[in-house]
Amino acid sequence: MKTVQFREALREAMTEEMRLDQSVLLMGEEVAEYNGAYKVSQGMLDEFGPKRVIDTPIAELGFTGIAVGASMNGLRPIVEFMTWNFAILAADQIINSAAKMLQMSGGQFHCPIVFRGGNGTAGQLGATHSQSFESMYAHVPGLKVVTPSNPYDAKGLLKSAIRDNDPVVFLESEKMYGDKGEIPEGEYLIPIGVADVKQKGTDVTIVSFGKVMKVAFEAAAELAKEGISVEVIDLRSVRPIDYTTVVESIKKTNRCVVLEESWPLASISSEIAYHLQRYAFDHLDAPVMRVTQTDTPFAFSPTLIDEALPNVGRVMEAVKSTLYRG
């Protein structure tokens, strides 16, 4: 094993896959000469040259469309968005084109493409630069949506995403790129669509994914001090969702709190709660609770950020309420 940053894990995944397969390339703003706005692609231009590590103008709709077209015609592009907020300009090509191509063409054309970049809030960046897109993309059939929470998962999942023959939305975080974690020396893959029970427990299950997994771990540690044993599940992908792992856990704990960074309405937490009341109704001893961002656009001021974001206290409260403990 070796310790790497999240950004290095992503870089290793891309680099290894590009060495293996000439049809894989990386495209995006500042990915080449600037070595990536967040240094994920550092050194990749040096290794692969400008044919395969390509700086684009600030033209999200255009370069995403070009990448989607290239993926229909034999290439396997990785498109880096400086952040997913800017990919809204490219949502047409992701949602209208890539997600639908295989079906519309009756199976003739598919889009083996990865869209990746920073997702979610990253400090005081204001409303347009702080959005979490998990549920928005999870809503769209035809896409797969991956939400890694640590360097190990990030590398294994990104390699799978690059090899996947369907379009994959890969949601990272500017706030995670510096996170360190252990990964094996050699190659490994993690299949998309398999949740990971990150911490075993018996009293309550916290289901989460992505950056806020840290909040889940912290809350679980605090609750342990109070004698509450929490099972923590990392979904790792939100399309598909590994419902089985979640239901199996609820059969054991009978209580569930869903934690996510995004807004509450039409969210992953609504989906999990629906699924549990439908398929684990008899196993639930309390209503499914959730902790999300407030139902408001993200704002700049630190006090408003504190109010808006899920935090350890709110998760602990939600967990306790499923145990009917105040």
Binding site: E29, E30, A32, E33, Y34, N35, A37, L45, D46, D55, P57, I58, A59, E60, L61, G62, N85, F86, I88, L89, G123, Q124, L125, G126, A127, T128, H129, P264, L265, R290, V291, T292, T294, D295, T296, P297, A299, F300, S301, P302, T303, L304, D306, E307, A308, R314
Partner: protein, 350 residues
Amino acid sequence: MAVSTKKKPAKTTRKSTSMKSSKFSKETYIKWYKDMLLIRKFEEKTGQLYIQQKFGGFCHLYIGQEAIVAGTASACIKGDKHMTAYRDHGHPLALGTDPRVLMAELYGRSTGCSKGKGGSMHFFDKEVGFMGGHGIVGAQIAMGAGVGFAEKYNETGNVVCVSMGDGAVRQGALHETFNMAMMWKLPVIFIIENNNYAMGTSVERTTNVVDLSKIGHSYEMPSKSVNGMSPEAVHEAIAEAADRARKGDGPTLLDIKTYRYKGHSMSDPQKYRTKSEVAEWVEQDPITHCSKVIKENKWLSEKEFEAISDWVKNEVKESIEFAENSPYPEGKELYEDVYMDKEYPFIVEY
């Protein structure tokens, strides 16, 4: 890192015949000088405060580009509207916004121009016609045309100045907008604040057509390049474009060549350019230029210069005091200003 074949940005040279026989009045020069100095000092201080972590977020300084907003402000009239991207500290200052509310916004305080909700990238001041402050590259191009659409619809005679970076012109929406703006003869001045870089990417690396004024040609939009280090040149170009717009003859594209002396934001190592390139541009500094003209014409005494400089220092100092003594918004203010509908039923779980 890989080193690109860096071409130098085309240098703009000021016609420096006699500065004394200027077309512009003493008052105009003094106003430019004051406006630009205020922006410069406000921004220098902002940079320092950011490094001291007095506030967070992104911080894009306007240092070097002051002549654009100074010349634009002097050429426009009350009622005209202004819009730009996230590099937005200079515009409201030139239009007359109190620096106190801008500093308070940087600090995220409820007394800020956007109540601490927008931050550095989202300054707004309706009072002076400043309609933002937009963080998504290129968003304001179409919106600005829409603001012009409304002015035309209401037959106000006002014009709209929409600024964008040289990087922003690569957004596809620009082309859709230019076409409609020309077809509908919208009273808009599209201003490219061409500092030759979009983060680390020079204009040459994003296009075969490095003369950005040509972008307007396929729409037969009147277009030209302007020396952005000269408030005189900017004023003249804006005045001419505004005149055309007010007469109902539609939009203009101005490729205003300027330079940002500092990095893209506060975390930019600036490996994409040389120190000597920066120095060449600093030599053409518009504030130095204005002070020279004023001195040569003996429009201000040493004492009066000092008084201006003291006034600027004091404005900046008081802005900081105002900001630091202002409260942060309360958590519940998150639910204000989201909908005009005051009864909107938010999901509230905490």
